[in-house]
Symmetry: C2
Subunit: 349 residues, 2 copies
């Protein structure tokens, strides 16, 4: 049995341990500085405070961040459980403490845009950071694919992809986590997998605009699907182009599409998109969602910055990304919703 140390014990970082605990592995949960209450609550009740579910049965241990060294001692796997907003903390505070030759599996999905408009994935950012620190042999892997934390903790059948550099590491990771309800594909196309699943954050906001437009028109919470489907199709078209721009393999597109699907149905991205769809400005919508952290805003902004840079460089044309650029206008340009339907039309002769 392996020892798995989770660093960052929020909802997703914790939920992914369910299948591993069910396989009999030892899990050590370390709270980030933001997770103090989660760890205290877990120690007292063996329930996850924000997931609102009991932890699985098994050999589980709970640590505050100052106990990190003890929690990492003898661990076979380090799990990076922070969201995009914790990435800098993980890069600056945690990676310096990770022993050489560790294996890391990260649940953080995302991309970083470089100065020239090219985009690289979080595992690559982590690799670069470890290299800059003179670390040796740390093997960074990541989890992609459609998976909401609540449903995983409820053992809903889920399909994900683990990506990394080494097939043998990926197969070992799969052996730790595989369950009848947790199905794992493997890929060495790190950039492609991460790019596909990161982009869904931006485009789920785009699809949700149609929900808000429908609510507004109907004067009640009634959804129309033709317009959602039109935005969904356009999102897939733009994601296909972006995946190619990231040098990801087209085979990863279904991961991003599945992840887009699940993201349209849940949580904060749907909420902000729906509010913007009713005609609110971004500031008005954020007023209502006060205090929520929105990866969709980070990712859509970052992707739009990259795409605008690539447009300047003549590598792509603005007409190829009308939905992304409209999302960016809403989020960063003070505009209100006005979906550029005619810009989605194509002639394919």
């Amino acid at each position: 049995m392996a020892i798995i140390t989770v660093i960052g014990s929020g909802m997703m970082g914790s939920a992914i341990t369910w299948p591993a605990a069910d396989n009999g592995h030892t899990i050590r949960y370390v709270g980030s500085p933001l997770d103090r209450a989660i760890i205290d609550h877990a120690r007292a009740t063996r329930e996850h405070l924000t997931l609102k579910r009991p932890f699985p049965k098994g050999d589980l241990h709970f640590y505050q961040i100052e106990e990190l060294a003890e929690a990492m001692k003898g661990a076979d796997l380090l799990l990076c459980g922070v969201s995009s907003f914790g990435l800098d903390w993980f890069l600056d505070t945690i990676i310096p403490q990770i022993p050489d030759n560790s294996i890391v599996l990260s649940i953080t999905k995302g991309m970083v845009a470089l100065e020239d408009g090219s985009m690289i994935s979080y595992p690559e950012v982590m690799e670069q950071r470890a290299e800059a620190l003179g670390k040796k042999g740390i093997d960074f892997n990541a989890v992609g694919g459609p998976c909401t934390s609540y449903e995983l903790a409820d053992l809903d059948p889920t399909e994900v992809t683990f990506c990394g550099r080494k097939p043998e590491t990926l197969r070992w990771l799969k052996s730790l986590f595989e369950q009848d309800y947790y199905n794992i594909s493997l890929s060495t196309d790190v950039r492609g997998v991460e790019c596909a699943v990161a982009l869904k954050n931006a485009y789920a906001l785009g699809v949700s605009l149609a929900i808000g437009m429908s609510y507004k028109r109907e004067g009640r919470e009634f959804e129309h699907y033709n317009s959602q489907a039109a935005l969904f199709g356009q999102a897939v078209r733009e994601m296909t182009l972006l995946l190619d721009l990231c040098d990801g393999k087209p085979e990863q597109l279904p991961l991003g599409v599945g992840d887009l699907y699940v993201t349209v149905f849940g949580g904060r991205t749907r909420k902000i998109g729906t509010l913007l769809g009713t005609g609110m400005s971004f500031d008005e919508a954020m007023e209502i969602l006060k205090g929520t952290t929105l990866e969709s805003i980070v990712i859509s902004t970052r992707t739009a910055v990259a795409v605008r840079r690539l447009i300047e460089r003549g590598i792509v044309r603005a007409e190829q990304f009308p939905l992304l650029l409209h999302i960016d206008e809403l989020v960063n340009g003070g505009k209100t919703v006005n979906v550029p339907w005619k810009a989605f039309e194509r002639e394919d002769f």
Copy 2:
């Protein structure tokens, strides 16, 4: 202003006339033998019986099938408004009566599997039929893309693709139907467009299985999305392969994906998939849905027949289509739901 004659005035055949009527064109609605009540009701009330909405304002005329010749006289465009179940009637009874050099736009989405497992689109089937009859110069075009009839009649923003052989015909068709709420792309990739949108009928049933599985597990109408997203992703993977097998361009995939999205949310395909997902046999589920016509059953059966033939011929492998083959087992093999999750896992090294 043009004269448009609709042959088959059911829900979709009629709904597509809304934007054309709003553009001021004359519409002549001809009922199929199944649409008698629709035509009688329209004459008496100017309301569509099954769409349950008033017809748009404009120069509209209503005909029973025996008045077809009169309705076609001087028409600029013939609109084939039947569903897959009316295709044989259209091929056998209507095409012989269509004048040479007519322009036809068909809303019927679907594919026919040939003996060798190859699949061709309905417009191609119509072309072959017209050729066999010695007809000259009939220009067959078709409508693909996500569009439910109710929502189109409610003027929900909708994005479709018209496909056909001639760019100039397609541009003219677009000029007849284009509206701010009805957005039209154009493509000469007839096979690709039709294949992409036909396949969604089969796979929407597949995605809906997860809805029924969730209902059963929860004991109430509560949906889980991780499992739906996993099936959605797998559907996109298999649709991508099938599109390629049909010699369709990969650019058409977003049409099929958008159409899959809208089909999961509405109507009969969702119902049969959900019932099968709760563990019912196909016969039990059809007992409940008695009397409903199911294009998803026709298309999934036909596609599975084609794929099994291609497997026999060594052109594809069964492992590439686990979802389609499971749908076929449910529909035609007397099995009950048992999603082959592990068969969806891949190693992409």
